[in-house]
């Protein structure tokens, strides 16, 4: 079983680094209009900040930052944001994902600008939720395996 090693150095390094990684992730997402970056990259950075806590602080203590059960719903929320932007454009008589028909009351050019931003946020959510969820699946799988072994060993002693 993988146990977290309680070392004050790694703990505090993570506590200092995680906020900066997350701020940089949001910068990459929201600055994707002007520089390289966007939803996929920013989402991967966000997931990286969560996984750093998972690795260093251990699965239990890092639940406060991002609970395991939220992984898949978070990813689904991202896809829903993306698909929802497409349907919002249809409400106003446009085609699916035709951003200049979004009902936000701006000029078409800025509507497209906003549509790109919303879609990138959706992609970032989807990537974050998916990456964290995959990691949690693998780790939980291992731990459950271990518990099953311990359980069977204990029952053998009972018999």
């Amino acid at each position: 079983m993988i146990r977290p090693k309680e070392t004050i150095i790694t703990d505090h390094v993570v506590r200092v680094m995680v906020p900066f990684i997350q701020i940089f992730a949001f910068y990459v997402i929201f600055h994707g209009h002007y520089s390289p970056g966007g939803g996929f990259q920013g989402g991967a950075l966000l997931a990286g900040s969560v996984l750093l806590q998972r690795v260093v602080l251990g699965a239990e203590r890092s639940q406060i930052g991002f609970p395991t059960r939220l992984g898949i719903p978070f990813g689904a929320l991202g896809i829903l944001i993306y698909a929802g932007v497409g349907f919002l454009a249809m409400l106003d008589g446009g085609n699916y994902l035709q951003y200049d028909h979004l009902p936000f009351g701006m000029t078409p050019v800025y509507l497209r600008n906003t549509g790109i931003l919303l879609v990138e946020i959706g992609v970032a959510f989807a990537v974050t939720g998916t990456l964290v969820s995959i990691y949690d699946d693998l780790v939980n799988f291992e731990r459950r395996d271990d518990q099953a072994e311990m359980h069977s060993a204990g029952s053998r002693e009972d018999a």
Binding site: F141, A148, H151
Partner: protein, 101 residues
Amino acid sequence: MGRVLAFLVIVAVGVVLVYAGFGLPAFGDPNAPASTHVSDAYIEHAYHDAHTPNFVTVMIADYRSFDTLGESIVVFTAGLACFLLLRSERRRKRQGGGQQT
């Protein structure tokens, strides 16, 4: 017999693919259809259309947003597949342990 047949099919498909590959335009060919129509239009109109200096973002999220929607759904589906596979494995293990006791 089946293996020989499968091998022959693989070789045949490979030959067809390599032959078709020779018909592709050279890498970076300025006269390729992709470089003469779409790319120019994207680069010329991106800023005018969406007021976004980074035209890669405009291409990914605006002109080809269907593509990106599919990509993010693929990513999410991969995560969902991991979730379902590993969780069902876990449940099977637990049931197996129950039968042993």
